[in-house]
Structure formats: C-alpha cells, structure tokens
C-alpha cells in the first residue's frame, strides 16, 4: 500500500502505527464524549484542546512512521494553533463575557449522549461495510473521523451558546484532520495549511461577531431568533 523508500528501514512497524492510531482514535472518541457531556463551556474548551493535542500526537506518530516532513509541520501547526491558541482565545472570550458559563443544550445532554453513541456505532458500521479501500486509511481513522465530524455537528446543532457551537466546529474539523492525516501520505502541505488558515479566520470572524452582539444588544448571538418564515 504505502510506497516505501528503497531499502529504508521503517523506524516504526506498520502494525505498531495501526495500533497507536487506533488507540489515539479511542482517546479522541473519549474527548468527544467529554465535549458532548460538558455542562460548562470551560470543560468543553479544555476537552477540545486535549483533542487537538491528540491529533498533533497522531500527526507526529504518522510522520515518524512515514518519514514525511510535511506531517511534522502539520502536527506542529495543529499543536500551536488548535491546541494552544484557539482554546486560549475561546477561554479569553468566556472570561471577557463573564456570564453564561453553562452550555444550555436544546435537548437534554443525556439525549445528546445517546445520539452520540448512535453516531459512533453507525460510523463503525459504515466503514466496516467498505471493501479493500480501507487499506488506504490507517487503522480506524476513517470511522473515528466520521464519528468525530458528525458528533461535532451534533454539538453545534444542539447547543444554544455561540462558544459551544464554536467548540463543536473545532471538534468537527479535528475529525476531518485525523482522517486526512491517516490517508496514506496525508494531504499536501499547502492544502492543510490553507485549511488551518481558514479555520483560524472563521474563528476570528465568529469571535468578533459574538463580542459585537454582546456589546450592542447584550445577548448571545445564538439566541437571536427573529428571522423566521
């Protein structure tokens, strides 16, 4: 499957990489469950930071295994941007807004958790039904990625505060990144950097909107619901 360099000895065996990626996938699912279950915005932010850290570690492992320099760069950027900078920004916004620390679910958190389980089971079922092409993606990265993406969307759809919706967005993006890293060689560096840049810009614009609505109408932007029909 993977194109090996001629005669180059892999520092880590393929089975080992599969096992590690699977393990990281399980931990990612755990952080996702924490995000879904978080009753307070702070907890969700810490969980998503931990999730990004795991993604960065997965990138590092895959980089070491394939000897792909691009993956090192991507892992580094993920670490700095998604595990450190973005969570800090979110944290700063929570502190600055100084109110509304609860995530305010639309449906009970327990129900969201149940839906999350359905999503996880479905994702694994779906990717188990795929044929040989699973080999193109390391280990369980495909079902874990699908589960993370869909659960992130679930969080965005079922929370009423803007910041929690942003956390859901980051989690969703993490799922895509995880799968993308595990695709044979990872996506081209330039594309990954572009994607991360987009995520940063989107987060920036969202933060500005949240603060602007808070300062003008003193409400959470996600609460506005006058546009109907």
């Amino acid at each position: 499957m993977r194109a090996h360099g001629a005669g180059a000895e892999d520092p880590v065996s393929t089975e080992m990489v599969h096992a590690i990626i699977d393990d990281i996938g399980a931990l990612l699912l755990f952080t996702m469950i924490l995000i879904v279950a978080a009753g307070q915005v702070y907890r969700a932010i810490y969980a998503v930071a931990a999730q990004s850290l795991l993604i960065a570690i997965a990138g590092g492992v895959l980089a070491a295994a394939t000897g792909n320099i691009d993956l090192w760069v991507i892992a580094g950027i993920t670490l700095v941007v998604k595990a450190i900078v973005l969570p800090s920004v979110l944290h700063w916004v929570v502190r600055r807004m100084n109110v509304r620390r609860e995530v305010e679910p639309v449906i009970p958190i327990a129900a969201t958790l149940a839906l999350a389980v359905v999503i996880v089971v479905m994702s694994f079922h779906l990717s188990a039904s795929l044929g040989t092409v699973r080999q193109a993606i390391t280990g369980n990265a495909l079902p874990v990625g699908i589960a993370l993406t869909l659960t992130g969307v679930l969080v965005m759809a079922t929370r009423m505060t803007a910041l929690t919706q942003m956390v859901g967005l980051f989690a969703s993006e993490n799922g895509i990144f995880f799968t993308a890293m595990a695709v044979t060689q990872g996506m081209p560096l330039i594309i990954e950097i572009g994607v991360i840049l987009d995520v940063i810009l989107a987060a920036l614009v969202m933060t500005i909107m949240v603060l602007r609505v808070r300062s003008t109408v003193d409400a959470d932007i996600a609460d506005l619901d006058r546009l109907r029909g």
Binding site: A19, A26, F30, I33, A37, A110
Partner: protein, 315 residues
C-alpha cells in the same frame, strides 16, 4: 501444579488480605486528601480504630425495625467478602479452584447494595429511606456500565473469569491495550467514585441530608452492626479497585509459582491499589459534589464510553 487444598488456601488468603487492608486503603485516601487540603489529618490506621471502637459498643435499634434488621450487617459483610474471593490479588492466572467469575462478583456487590438499602428501609427512619431511594436511583446507572466494561474486556479474552482475563491480557498490559481498553478504562475511572461512594457522586465524610447517599443508609445502625457495615464498605472499595486492576493492569505469576512470585504479585497489587487510591483522593479534593439530578449525566459519560468500547470490540 498446586494441589487443590493449597489453591483454596491461597484464595482464602487473598480474601482475608483484601478485607484486612480495606480500611487501610480508606485511611490512606483520607490522609492524601488531608495533605492535599493542607491539613495534618488522622493517621492511616484511623478506620481500624473506628471499627474496633464500634465492635466494643452495645447495639441500639429502632423500635420499628424487624428482627431481620439485626442480620443485615453480617449479610452485607458476607456478600462483600465473598465478592473479594473472586478478585485475583497475587496471581494473574485462572485459579485452580474456580469459585465464580466477574458476573458473580458484580452480582454479589449488587446483593450487598440491595441488602443495605433493605436494612435502611426496614429501620423506618426518614433519612434511611431517602438514602436507599437515592442509592437505588444511582445503582441501575452504575451496574450496567460495570457489566459492559467487563464484557468489552471479556469479549477479547473469551471468558468472564477474572484470573483468565488477566492471563489473557498478559503482564505487558499498557502496550497491549487496544482502542476499546482505553475507553473501557475511561468508563471505569468515571464509575469509580460512584461505586466507592465518593465525590462527585456521594460524600463519605458527611451526614448532611442534602448530600448523602450511602451514609444515610447507615444512620440506624449502631455498635458492632455499624462496624460490620463500615468494614463492608471498606471491603467493597478495595474489591472494586481490585476489579479495575485485574481488568486493566494484571500483574503477577501466571503459572504456579513459589512464595517469591506470590510476594511479587502482592507487592504489585499494593502499588496498583495505592495509585488508584491516589486518583480517588485527587478527584475528591478537586471536584465538588454534584447535585443529585446531575449525577445521571455524569454517569452517562461512563455509559457512553463503555458502550463505545463494546461497539469497538464488536465492529
């Protein structure tokens, strides 16, 4: 190959050891907590002193209580201690003399819980009834999750006998962990405070009616009966911790081994229990007790983790 008698002796030795060091673990947790809160704290032997004191006292019983009430502490202690016999302490191999499996263990713990609640209701006190009803609200959330964690591990090994599970995993545990084990372990960490009656689910240090679950059920007991109940709850705690270590960190001689091997296994067991006790103390010191209505949500995390672990194993 050990003869049958010796293996029975070892199992009984395990069991006695567990019951005896149970209060010590509680004492250690209290000590760590105290130090984390910058207090001196009572000595680690304090739980033993409490029990000794209680055993010497007389018994006072509510007028409304039936004759059955008196036998409750003994039955609870018996069920818990019997559960202790199923936990592999010094070995990581199936016992030569099988007495039961993990399901049996959980069943015995559930029986002890049931008897405790029954006793609390029998005494007719308001707090006892309240504690029992709360305990019985939490129990159906905790027990299925424990079952699922056990099953997710058992599926891989093809057995529910704890010793055989431990043997299947081998002693290189953390390296051989599969994805499902991480989630199962996470579920277990979430459940531990609930199963051992600690913050954030219960508070073992207080008798305030707003906070208590387990302690509420003990209010009507006194003297030696209360001593038995306390000993049972210490034993229950160490049995649960032993279950975790058997499921996830088995260590010890797999085949018949001499005294040296058994000692090594016992030492490793002590270290594992100490680490888990430290974890419990840390959680207790850093979190506040949850409102009762928030507890199902908290346990839901464990439930989802366990279910996902199970799904990972099957799919």
């Amino acid at each position: 190959m050990m003869s049958g008698e010796i293996s029975v002796v070892i199992v009984l030795l395990d069991m006695a050891l567990l019951v005896l060091i149970g209060p010590l673990v509680t004492g250690i947790i209290q000590k760590i907590k105290a130090r984390l809160q910058c207090r001196q704290g009572a000595g680690v032997l304090q739980p033993y002193r409490d029990i000794r004191k209680l055993l010497r006292k007389g018994t006072v019983q509510a007028d409304t209580a039936s004759g059955f009430f008196r036998s409750i502490p003994v039955l609870v202690l018996a069920a818990t201690v019997a559960a202790g016999a199923l936990v592999p302490v010094m070995r990581a191999a199936p016992p030569v003399f099988p007495m039961g499996d993990a399901i049996m263990l959980l069943g015995l713990l559930a029986l002890a819980r049931f008897l405790t609640a029954l006793g609390a209701l029998d005494a007719g006190g308001a707090f006892g009834g309240m504690g029992a009803s709360r305990e019985m609200t939490i129990a159906p959330l905790v027990e299925p999750v424990l079952m699922m964690v056990v099953f997710s591990t058992a599926l891989a090994a093809g057995t529910t006998e704890l010793g055989a599970l431990a043997a299947h995993r081998g002693t290189s545990w953390i390296l051989s962990w599969r994805a499902a084990d991480f989630l199962g372990f996470a579920a277990m960490l979430v459940l531990l405070p609930a199963e051992t009656g600690r913050i954030p689910v219960d508070n073992p240090d207080t008798h305030l009616e707003l906070t208590m679950l387990h302690e509420g059920m003990l209010l009507e007991h006194s003297g030696p009966g209360l001593g038995c109940m306390l000993l049972a709850s210490h034993a229950r705690q160490i049995v649960t911790l032993g279950l975790v270590s058997a499921l996830f960190f088995p260590f010890g001689p797999t085949e018949s081994a001499g005294a040296m091997g058994l000692l090594l296994g016992a030492g490793a067991f002590a270290v594992k229990i100490l680490v888990l006790a430290g974890f419990l103390a840390l959680v207790e010191s850093s979190y506040a007790k949850l409102r009762l209505f928030r507890v199902p949500q908290y346990l839901g995390v464990g439930f989802v983790c366990a279910l996902t672990a199970l799904a990972l194993r099957i799919l």
